[in-house]
């Protein structure tokens, strides 16, 4: 009996060795086990930080990928959704005592609404025009947050009391946070995999690849794209809340920054757009690299770590356009992975 013939409900292609659409691969299972191990085994605090952030960013990258990789909506403004999620739950917590577990959903819905709005407003725009509009929209949100001091604390920021309890979603141990972020990562991954095999997912890919043909097949591109952006924003917003509960401090310049938006788009792009494993690989490579560069070189000469980082980025983009996932698939089987 070959591995390929094992079927799992909902996944038409059963098991596979390497990641592919519609199948759970040994590679992914192995990676998951490794991640769980990383949560459990004792690590020095700064490395624990890196683990937590890596998992969070992987989830955020997967969220971005729903819009960017599957719908073809390249957004450089996703930090706005991150911020909306983070601020909504935090404001509810700080000003109204609402538990973050509940506030998380309010924040997610607010982000989803913002995502839908963005998609509708920018529906007709293509290519760089769309990208620039997302940049502009995110900046509007940032400046708005910066100036709405009564709610957001303005430039002084907003702090969460570090009283640890499960109800408050504040933990003393970094391992607990790592578990939380891993949970988020797994959820985003599961959503992505479900999307890939679903009717809606097929429509999304069709609209991305050829809008006219999709229309001729009865697909409404506006509706499909708006849904994708809303879902992407929703997942990003959840990540924002989780981040707020981890970092315990929010500040618009830091949370809704163009640098963060860039990062959220970069990770899936380097990892491989339009695949489930891509954004995860991207985050697993780039986030530790970025944190380590910042830690060891950030003081040597201001800006050196970013110089290296951006140079690496340019090289990767020019020579590995289908990202790490593409390179992985080529190593494994000789053909590009079925997206």
């Amino acid at each position: 009996m070959s591995l390929a013939s094992i079927r799992i409900a909902g996944l038409p292609n059963g098991f596979a060795l390497m990641p592919r659409r519609g199948a759970v691969s040994l590679f992914e299972i192995g990676l998951l086990i490794a991640c769980i191990a990383l949560v459990g085994i004792p690590l020095p605090q700064n490395l624990r930080d890196v683990v937590v952030l890596t998992f969070l960013y992987a989830g955020l990258a997967l969220a971005w990928n729903v819009a960017g990789g599957y719908a073809g909506l390249i957004s450089f403004g996703h930090a706005a959704f991150f911020g909306i999620g983070a601020y909504t739950s935090t404001i509810l917590l700080v000003h109204a005592g609402v538990s973050p577990w509940l506030g998380l959903w309010v924040g997610a819905l607010a982000s989803a609404a913002a995502g839908a709005l963005l998609a509708v407003v920018c529906a007709r725009l293509k290519g760089p025009f769309f990208i620039l509009s997302t940049l502009a929209a995110a900046e509007v949100v940032r400046i708005g947050a910066l100036n709405w001091a009564s709610m957001t604390g303005g430039p002084e920021g907003l702090s969460i009391l570090p009283v640890s309890s499960l109800a408050n979603m504040v933990f003393t141990s970094k391992a607990a946070y790592a578990a939380l972020m891993l949970g988020y990562l797994v959820i985003c991954y599961a959503v992505t995999m479900a999307l890939q095999c679903s009717r809606y997912g097929y429509f999304l890919l069709a609209v991305r690849d050829d809008e006219d043909a999709a229309k001729a097949a009865g697909v409404n591109p506006l509706l499909v794209r708006t849904g994708a952006m809303a879902l992407s924003a929703l997942l990003t917003g959840i990540g924002g809340t989780l981040f707020a509960q981890y970092f315990l401090y929010l500040d618009p310049t830091f949370v809704i920054s163009p640098e963060l938006s860039f990062q959220l788009a970069l990770l899936p792009a380097v990892g491989g757009l339009g695949t489930a494993i891509g954004p995860v690989l991207g985050s697993f490579l780039i986030t530790p690299l970025s944190e380590l560069l910042r830690a060891y070189l950030g003081h040597a000469a201001a800006g050196l770590h970013l110089v290296i980082y951006s140079a690496v980025l340019i090289v990767v983009m020019l020579y590995f356009p289908s990202g790490l996932a593409g390179a992985l698939a080529r190593l494994a089987g000789g053909r590009k992975p079925k997206l």
Partner: protein, 294 residues
Amino acid sequence: MTTLGQLVFSGILIGGIYALMSMGLTLIFGVLRVVNFAHGEFLMLGMYGAWALSTAAGLNPYTAALIVVPAMFLFGGLVHRIIISPALDKPHLVVVFATMGLSIFMQNAALMVMTADLWDVPPVFGSSVAIGPFYFKAELLIGFAIGLSCTIALRWLIRATYLGKAIRATVQDGEAAMLMGIPVPRIFLITFAGGSALVGLSACVMMPLFSVFPTVGLNFVLIAFVIVVLGGMGSIEGALLGGICIGVVQSLSSYYVAPAFGQMFFFILFLLVMIVRPDGILGQKGAATIGIKD
């Protein structure tokens, strides 16, 4: 009334300079269909160059332009060869990330080499020029004059020379142009390098008026983007028109409106243009909505 007049005319003058700054961006988009996200950093580089020549050799920025402009031309050509050209036949995302990466690279390289301090050049002319009831810095008037001349010169170049015709042919149909014997890759190179040279010129013109620091590009690239979408991507005349509009708007709003919202105002303006008339006033119809040639 005089205040209003002063603001409006100053706005027009700075607008001409902004237009010069944006011309390279719109030209590159019109021909290569690429948005150079590092445009602001090219400006920064030119400004540092002008500053360096002023400090080291005592050259005033206008004289320095004789060196900075060709240098930026070469720099643009280099960037095109190394980064833009390899990215052109790949998915559009690649060139977006590559130019963004370049932007971050240049900002931080500048930070490392020049530190975060603000640098200025000494004013070229001591006093302001009086025209009627208004006073204008001489550098402002000269900058506007240079911006206007460039618009006229570029218009002539595009319309009357062989290079201009080749560029127009490439814009309309790159494949057909190649079949006609037009060396399209070289047109791309010349356009990108030329656009960079224009940015270099505007950097020299702006140096007497603004300070330079590593992230100075971020402020101005926003203005450039708004001008370019307002005037229409790919239109030189549109850049001038857009530049003047934005210059006047900025001049008036900096006086009448609270500064906190100044930047936000530009973003909202940008979004409004995108929603209402994404092709801009003089832009190629359909560029924003039907899509650029992929």
